[in-house]
């Protein structure tokens, strides 16, 4: 009887060892035989340009191989940050961890020292700057991309343009039916981002409160508060009569699952649809800078190289590919 159990244990141990060993081998293979890996990667890749990346891997990869970098924050920047990290690691090596959580989370983590770089879709608040200063952080701010906030609606909604005032009333719960803004007779479901999001704050200040600093207006508590841009796209694409807002980058990814509407500041100005061009020439009225924050006292070689990379032509091109607008 005892023998039987020993047998089971031996099998279990062998199984675990095999798994661990195969992992070990895998690492060895990926780090040592780069040429073979490069070939394998190229054949396995269909749409991304890893082939180009792998060619450049060999000389530079050793430099950052032992270094780690943690990037956290804005979910608006999440996908582009992920793309940056992917491309950077393919070209220069290093190990980059990307976390979401929201602009608030990123900035908090930077202040607490649990992240190296903070992505933010809004500038830091004064209170946050004080917090950072009190912890001895030498704050560095980088404007990495421009972004427009696109207002999107479900495919069945036949409203093509909104004024700031209409949007404000919809989100404050004062307009609740599509027929009041020129649509069919149906209830409006307003989807907002949750409160850790920089997009939430930006939209609150510039649209719901119409840029009035004194205003105490709030989102109606009837709004859906969704965790991410992706969630908003998914819900608007999958349902009817919903309105929501997402970063411009998500408009491209959403494809034709949602309708983007034109925006005008007031009834006298002309309506502009969100696009890279209109954000670039600043004619689209809801646009903003996107930031990365760093602690100058703890800036590693890898962090500096990553920042240089995202501000380089290559990095900015990745931003354009995802759907944002370059800084320059």
């Amino acid at each position: 009887m005892k023998v039987k159990w020993l047998k089971f244990l031996v099998i279990a141990v062998v199984f675990i060892l095999t798994v661990t060993l195969s992992i070990g081998c895998k690492t060895a293979v990926t780090t040592e035989t780069t040429a073979a890996a490069a070939v394998a990667e190229t054949t396995a890749t269909q749409e991304t340009d890893t082939s180009k990346a792998s060619d450049e891997t060999n000389p530079a990869s050793s430099k950052f191989n032992d270094q780690e970098l943690v990037v956290s924050g804005s979910t608006t920047l999440l996908e582009v940050a992920n793309a940056w990290a992917e491309d950077f690691m393919a070209k220069f090596g290093g190990s980059i961890t990307v976390n979401g959580g929201g602009s608030g989370v990123g900035i908090t983590s930077l202040i607490d020292g649990t992240t190296d770089l903070a992505n933010a879709s809004r500038p830091m608040k004064d209170s946050e700057k004080q917090g950072a200063a009190s912890k001895g952080i030498d704050l560095k701010e980088y404007i990495v991309l421009w972004d427009g906030i696109a207002v999107i609606v479900s495919k069945n909604v036949n409203v093509n343009e909104f004024t700031f005032d209409q949007l404000s009333k919809i989100y404050k719960g004062e307009i609740t039916n599509w027929k009041d803004v020129g649509g069919a007779d149906a209830e409006i479901i307003a989807a907002a981002r949750d409160s850790s999001s920089g997009t939430y704050e930006y939209f609150l200040e510039s649209i719901v409160r119409l840029g009035n600093k004194e205003s105490q207006d709030e989102y109606s508590d009837k709004c859906l508060f969704l965790q991410t841009n992706a969630d908003i796209v998914a819900q608007i694409g999958g349902n009817e009569n919903i309105i929501g807002y997402v970063g411009l980058g998500y408009l491209k990814a959403a494809g034709d699952t949602v309708n983007a509407v034109k925006i005008k500041k007031d009834s006298s100005s002309s309506a502009v649809s969100p696009s890279v061009e209109t954000v670039k020439d600043r004619s689209y009225p809801i646009s903003r800078e996107l930031y990365v924050y760093a602690d100058g006292n703890k800036m590693t070689e890898l962090a500096q190289a990553y920042l240089d990379f995202i501000l380089s032509a290559d990095g900015q091109q990745i931003g354009i590919d995802v759907g944002f607008v370059p800084v320059k």
Partner: protein, 295 residues
């Protein structure tokens, strides 16, 4: 020589006893640490935020330092109530069938199948909920969006079933066969025996099962975070989006600076959640204790 050896052995056994003791009380230590951290941060929260504004507040807007607990409580109560309404008939019904009526071979297959449900991760249940049940609920009730209290509640109900079925069935099994023979000898049918003798005898165990299922429902996080739409407002309809206590913690946990008001507010609602589940489980355990006495 011999005495020093025995001294050493004594010392060794003393060390071992201490070591084992420390391990033995680890659960008290951890539970104490959890409670201490929750209490510490809650006290700090209430020091700067009036307690009546917390328990009486009707709006939860962390960015503007409004921490009204009522919408979250209503959200949790609403989903829990709907879930338990679905779970009790399903759970107790199947427990009676499996424990009392099903033939032996069926029982040996059914029980493990239901227990498998307990092992499915809640994020998988939430995922299935988003992909399958939310559209279903939306179409059935002709809603704008499928993320409602009911959607979360249906999934929660199923997640609590393994607990409810398993413990209820144990309680039904614990009813001595002599009770059944006596009832049948008096001319009662099998069904009459079941609902007039067996179920009442096992009732305290069934109550315990429901309480422990309730504990599971109240504490469940991922499925409600993904399925209930997260609007922190006070509604009294199952077909509206709500936000529960657990979802609020999960969604906002890493949001503000350590020591900030929002951070400590989340510990305050964590403390309330901890106390609620503690109470529910305590009551549940009291009832299971009585089941053991029947045996």
């Amino acid at each position: 020589m011999a005495s020093s050896k025995s001294k050493f052995a004594k010392f060794k056994s003393f060390l071992i006893t201490r070591f084992v003791f420390v391990n033995g009380i680890i659960s008290i230590i951890i539970l104490g640490l959890i409670l201490a951290l929750l209490l510490y941060n809650s006290v700090r929260f209430f020091a700067s935020y009036p307690i009546q504004n917390f328990f009486g507040g009707v709006r939860w807007i962390p960015t503007h330092d409004k921490f009204g607990f009522v919408p979250l409580l209503v959200g949790s109560i609403l989903t829990t109530f709907a879930a338990i309404l679905i779970a009790v008939p399903l759970g107790v019904g199947s427990a009676i069938y499996i424990g009392e009526l099903a033939p032996r071979y069926l029982r040996e297959t059914l029980k493990p199948i239901i227990e498998v449900l307990a092992t499915i991760p809640s994020v998988v249940i939430g995922f299935i909920g988003i992909k399958v049940f939310a559209p279903l609920i939306k179409n059935i009730f002709n809603l704008g969006i499928g993320l409602t209290a009911l959607t979360g509640a249906v999934m929660l109900a199923f997640m609590s079933l393994p607990t409810i079925v398993s413990i209820s069935e144990d309680a039904i099994n614990a009813v001595p066969n002599t009770f059944r023979y006596a009832s049948m000898a008096l001319g009662a049918t099998k069904w009459e025996t079941t609902y007039k003798v067996v179920v009442p005898t096992a009732s305290s165990g069934i109550v315990a099962a429901v309480m422990l299922g309730l504990g599971r429902i109240v504490g469940e996080t991922m499925a409600v975070l993904m399925l209930t739409g997260n609007s922190p407002r006070i509604v009294f309809s199952f077909l509206q989006p709500v936000r529960t206590i657990t979802a609020t913690i999960a969604a906002e946990m890493g949001e503000t600076a350590q020591g900030g008001l929002h951070y400590s507010a989340l510990f305050a609602i964590g403390l309330v959640l901890f106390l609620i589940t503690f109470l529910i489980n305590f009551v549940g355990d009291r009832f299971t204790g009585r089941v053991k006495n029947i045996r």
